[in-house]
Amino acid sequence: MIQLKKIRRATRRDLAQVAEIDARITGLRKPRYWAGILRRYPLFLVLTENARVQGYIVGEVRDWEFGSPPCGWVFGIGVRPDARLGGAGTRLLEAICAEFRRRRVDKVRTLLARDNALVLAFFRSQGMMAAPFIALEMELRRSP
């Protein structure tokens, strides 16, 4: 059987499958969140194989975010666990980087949890290095 792999913009019809992939990875089902992502982000791509969504990637170009000149940001990437090691993540990242280049930016960034070893290793394997930023946070205490 011929495997037809294709990368295209996500549509409403893909949302259930995207939410399912995300839920398998994170353990959290959040269909409303994904519907919001589709509305807000123009760069929401899916990789399909014979019409089945195998993975997704979401990003956008942000201008002067954190004081940085315009650059591409990848906010999320996910590949079905049973479709990994087949190059799906690489193809999705290449596709979104091509979109970033078309928008005339020459840098791509992402932000990840330190303990997300799998996705960190993936981005590293694609050539990504530490950015000149430090992520900071603090607990917000409730007002008395």
Binding site: T90, L93, E94, C97, K107, V108, R114, D115, A117, L120, A121, R124, S125, Q126, G127, M128, M129, A130
Partner: protein, 138 residues
């Protein structure tokens, strides 16, 4: 960030073996390349062998070969055989000592995450890139 001499030697050796998996490399060859004492290097390679990262073949044409999966083995896997990153610092009772220990722990956690996310295959790709392109993404 500095690593101990043994650790650096182990990382360079493992990467040399992983770069040429079909070709056994002798202790003398690696020692010459990294200006290390063969006796000292033999101890390092012995530890790598016991951890299952390299295998040794005796006789003519023998030497060491990489025996792990370069897409799975990370820098941290090698480093952890020789030193501990993130070893709890001895903290005194004073608040300032505790605060300094907290900052050092933050640095250690970042170092662990960095080493744990770079596989040998990624490292070899990085080494093959021209120096100016090492921070360039896909």
């Amino acid at each position: 960030m500095r690593l101990q001499k043994n650790t650096l030697l182990a990382l360079c050796s493992v990467l040399e073996f992983a770069a040429q998996p079909a070709r056994p490399l002798s202790t003398a060859e690696i020692a010459r390349r990294y200006r290390a004492s063969p006796h000292h290097l033999a101890k390092v390679l012995g530890r790598l062998r016991r951890a299952g990262l390299v295998s040794a073949a005796r006789g003519s044409g023998g030497g060491y070969r990489f025996s792990g999966n370069p897409r799975r083995v990370t820098l941290l896997d090698v480093i952890a055989l020789f030193e501990r990153i993130g070893a709890p610092a001895k903290t005194g009772r004073r608040a300032l000592e505790g605060a300094i220990a907290q900052v050092l722990a933050e640095i250690d956690e970042t170092a662990r995450a960095t080493f744990g996310s770079i596989t040998l295959e990624t490292m070899l790709k990085l080494a093959r890139r021209p120096p100016g392109a090492r921070g360039r993404a896909a």
